[in-house]
Symmetry: C2
């Protein structure tokens, strides 16, 4: 059953397609009777305009491509839900593009991420999306692949591109990011105020800018407080629960152990919590733990996680609003940062022992 088109409506209403189009879009006055006749027919046949045809001439699709690394990482759904909220209000639909690869056994592989980002970029352009949001992945390396940078710049010439929580130094790509350094400062400052002096850091990837920035925040606060930073208490390379557990276990088995651990995300913090539990160390009495991201799961743990909220939803919202402006050709700041907030819950407490007052 061939769908009903404007031509069908036009024929039966004894008008031209132009007139049908006019009532459809309200772009010009149409005589009341004529309009009513047309509207009636549209209802009768449940007419739905073909968005492809419309977009083809209008040169706008109302479609956005949203590229992210891994939808099963709970941070991203948060961002996405903020984005969804604004995007819908603004009349956009979006393609979800996950750049992680999964093998038949459902294991997640991050190795081909760049390839996937690249593929999606060109696929989305073919689909004529009005704009592209790209979160993380290789975009967040301190020394990003020059080919990727070039490609992104090339794409950005043709369609608005917005980088989320990413960082491509020395380029003219628009970005919306959480202020990572500030977030880390918030966390560490909190620990110091509680009297902690022996603070360890776990997680992140040394080569990623977000990790570097948080580390910078950590160092700057420590320095300001006159506290030493021990290299062996900074354990990077990883973002998972398993890694958190592994690193925390290592720290806790050392002969001198930290009284507080700052984790690069909440998953790591959950892992640290498990390690402490296994080691018979109680949190927060004997060990304070601060997470990062404030994913919903941060409140599921016992005790609930003290963490830094990246305002993930806010980032998503900001992204949608900004991209919309870019699409409309309005000017937007090249870089926008969203300020994190510290959420104090149950995994941090006054340091006791010699360090506390």
């Amino acid at each position: 059953m061939r769908p009903v088109t404007v031509y069908d409506i036009a024929r039966e209403a004894n008008v031209s397609v132009a007139t049908v189009s006019r009532v459809l879009n309200n772009t010009a006055p149409v005589k009341k009777e004529t309009r009513e006749r047309i509207v009636a027919l549209m209802h009768k046949y449940q007419f739905q305009p073909n968005a492809l045809a419309r977009s083809l001439t209008r040169k706008e699709t109302g479609m956005i491509g949203f590229i992210l690394p891994d939808i099963t990482n709970p941070f991203f759904p948060e961002v996405l839900s903020g984005f969804d909220y604004e995007a819908r209000k603004l009349g956009y639909t979006y393609f979800l593009c996950d750049t992680i690869s999964t093998n038949e056994e459902n294991e997640r592989l991050y190795d081909r991420q760049y390839e996937r980002e690249s593929q999606y970029l060109s696929l989305l352009m073919e689909k004529q999306v009005d704009g592209i949001v790209l979160i993380g992945g290789r975009v967040d390396l301190a020394k990003p692949d020059p080919a990727l940078t070039r490609e992104l710049e090339e794409v950005a010439k043709r369609v608005p591109v917005l980088l989320l929580n990413g960082n491509l130094p020395k380029t003219k790509l628009n970005r919306v990011s959480a202020d990572q350094k500030f977030g880390a400062e918030l966390a560490v400052q909190h620990l110091i105020e509680l009297g902690h002096r022996d603070i360890a850091v776990i997680g992140g990837y040394a080569k990623m800018t977000n990790t570097q920035q948080r580390l910078a925040g950590f160092r700057s606060v420590m320095k300001e407080a006159g506290l030493p930073v021990r290299k062996e208490w900074i354990l990077t390379e990883g973002f998972s629960v398993a890694k958190g557990q592994e690193y925390a276990a290592r720290l806790l088995s050392g002969k001198r152990r930290p009284t507080a651990i700052f984790c690069m995300n909440d998953l790591l913090a959950i892992g640290a919590l498990k390690a402490a539990h296994r080691a018979g160390i109680s949190v927060p009495e004997e060990l304070s733990i601060v997470g990062y991201d404030d994913i919903p799961q941060a409140t599921y743990s016992i005790p609930e996680l003290t963490t830094v909220s990246l305002m993930s939803q806010e980032i998503g919202r900001q992204a949608a609003k900004t991209l919309d402006k870019m699409i409309a050709g309005k000017k937007v700041p090249l870089f926008q940062s969203v300020m994190p907030e510290l959420i104090v819950r149950e995994t941090t407490a006054q340091a006791n022992g010699k360090d506390s007052q």
Copy 2:
């Protein structure tokens, strides 16, 4: 800068657009020199065919609409990632359509879900998607809105629709679902084998079919084992951590308390864990808890959750494969079920006291 079209290529290569199209799609033999000339030009101008135009004639878009209730509920990303895996392999792109409403304060509101499902259904048809996947929401009520049913059937006449984990009795809509009754049986059977006799159930919504089916599973196993079902130990209406905590707290404060709780999802189980912890009841020694869904967070808790895996990724994969067949016009079973599996972790143990052997 106007994008390059087949016409541009054709002109510069001194051929007709038909020929360009032929090398683009490999639909007919083209002389080697001609082909090379065209390919070279395509590279030179970074030609990308306009998918809108292509879809308009081909009458297929390679686009699917994926409607779900709430992407921040960790069950859905799991399903989605399975779906993503297969869909990509099959060459589809998909729109993510979240039917939850969020207000400015980021609170999630489920009240307008039906309205949203309906809106998305027609939006997706306008966008000319090749197929639609719809998870849950109002679709899962035992007595679903007849208007919704009618609408879905109407949509399904025009474009393949696949219901996931939903249930619309007495209709000819294709479905892929987890076998809810079987899943519940698995969980309860496990508890009974551990010697539990006093088993409570929390969560779900009495009006939803999935809840009813699981309850049926629970009852059937209890009956088979000759165990009584206490009405006051079945606490429905809710799926969140908070509800789990509330219900479990209520159960645990009663003068006779259950030795095991079967939760309608993992979030509830996490809440139950928290309630037990608050009440000073140790899990699994004094209380066994079984969850449902096996979301990733099930392993984040201490102790890790024993739960029923719905094979969420598998459901997603199945959905993609099935929808693809439907799109291709192949015959598929009206109803497919995916068998849940029991994942025994740390929240269940032998019942002690008078009931254990």
